[in-house]
Symmetry: C2
Subunit: 299 residues, 2 copies
């Protein structure tokens, strides 16, 4: 049985960065998150793909013990086309084709509804709420989102934030959602909505966590060769919940380690296009960078 | 005798932020830096003020054992008028009156030319070079700069970088000077010019140091109440060289501690307008935040 349910997208991405490009590569929030989580335990993806979705992509996910039993197949695949300019902190969208994602409804059968660890990766907050409604008694819910939902479904997003244990968002989103430039203020406003912890992802600058009246500042790993930042946030979230589900320790102390494991995987993700680096990545590589991140912040 | 020479400006600042404003407050790179350094040892300022410079500002500096023997007095004081909008990461200039700074020449008499620790705070790189030329045998030179000099005196700036032990610059300046968005690449290009170490200041995101083939990532202290960021970079540099001159340990390990002391002081500086917070700040406050910065990066 799966240890984690991951609700999110499984997409076909076409990406261009100053360092190259890929076409119809495996992408989507659930793909990255599940691959990252699979280093620690067995995730199941809740999503939809089109009938045109390449078999080899799905086979690769299955080869990592990712359960695809809740991945529906209908119509055409969700596609995203985007690019990055020299400041690779922000993706720019050329085209989004929702296709099969448009009519997607979450159905969680009895067999899966007792899974305790849930990652609501980036997807429509209405689907996130629907997933929560179908779960028996989730023990730990991590929620991710993006600026699009802040703009068009803020009410639903605020509702799902109130039902999450931990909220992930990037610094720009935190400032936008809570209408402040100060990240401490934004985090306090987020905590007031209900979550036990808030994690603000800052890309190359690392991540901040606010929980139990304490604050944690994770360093960014200094990458000289960032090729493609797509999926870094999703890998971060997947690594985080993977570590937590494995250790079953949701304390503030354990969250700190989970954040650094998530950052280690995310920094590797950025070193190649799409999920390419995750294909060759080993637990040894992840541990090595985890230890380097301890060393670079020592004083 | 002074332990550190600090070359920089002593200004009258008029500053407006979303949280209030001050007029004709004590400002300038050397004022902030010397006040920060004075927590650790005795600095002397090399600068110029106008005959109109308020006596109480100079008396306050002297009350902190800051040697003003090399501060010339002529004409009218250098004035800066600036403001910050809600994103307080960037100062915007309303008006700059160079006044007495315009004809300023550095003259370091015999009595001071043997001082071993030098902070070339933000000022025209030609003046920084002139100071270095007049010193007998400086042991440790820390250099700071700003985007203005990158734009109008790049050649002189590159020359003085080649003669510094440690270069400080902020992330925007590093990207601009070395024509890259990647901070690791920028740091490597800076090191190739000669300094032993490069420190990239990232404001609320902390600081990075590259030295001896190693990398250090200092956390930013999470401030909820930033009132005025003016002088934070200068206080950071002053605290850094103050700690180094006190310990006389210029190793990479000691530099890490110096960076965190500098960050502790800088974060306090931002909590009130101008040098106000530095007036009430105690070594106990500095140590307390230093220890908090150890705690927030623990995992």
């Amino acid at each position: 049985m799966a240890d984690i349910l991951i609700l999110g997208t499984v997409a076909l991405d076409s990406i261009e960065t100053p360092f190259g490009k890929v076409t119809n590569a495996m992408g989507g929030s659930a793909s990255y998150a599940a691959l990252a989580a699979s280093f620690f335990c067995s995730p199941a993806i809740i999503s939809v793909v089109g009938n045109d979705y390449p078999k080899e992509h799905l086979e690769f996910l299955e080869s990592r013990n990712i359960d695809l039993g809740l991945v529906k197949k209908e119509g055409k695949s969700f596609r995203w086309e985007g690019y990055y300019e020299f400041d690779m902190n922000h993706a720019k969208t050329r085209k989004t084709e929702l296709n099969s994602l448009e009519g997607f409804r979450v159905d969680i059968p009895e067999k899966y509804s007792g899974v305790k660890h849930i990652f609501l990766a980036n997807i429509d907050p209405e689907l996130q709420l629907s997933a929560l409604d179908q779960l028996k008694k989730p023990e730990f819910v991590v929620l991710d989102t993006m600026n699009l939902w802040i703009n068009i479904k803020k009410k639903e997003l605020l509702e799902v934030i109130g039902r999450a244990d931990v909220l992930l968002l990037n610094d720009g989103e935190a400032r936008m959602l809570f209408n402040t430039t100060n990240l401490v203020t934004a985090a306090n406003k987020a905590l007031a909505l209900g979550p036990k912890g808030v994690i603000i992802k800052k890309g190359e600058h690392g991540a901040l966590m606010f929980m139990d009246g304490r604050h944690f500042s994770a360093p960014g790993y200094p990458l000289e060769n960032t090729k493609d930042p797509t999926g870094c946030g999703d890998s971060f979230g997947g690594g985080l919940i993977g570590y937590l589900a494995k250790t079953k320790d949701f304390s503030e102390r354990s969250m700190r380690k989970a954040i650094v494991y998530g950052s280690s995987i995310a920094s590797h993700t950025a070193e190649d296009f799409g999920v390419n680096r995750l294909k060759s990545l080993t637990m040894k590589d992840i541990e090595k960078r985890y230890n380097e991140m301890r060393e670079i912040r020592e004083f």
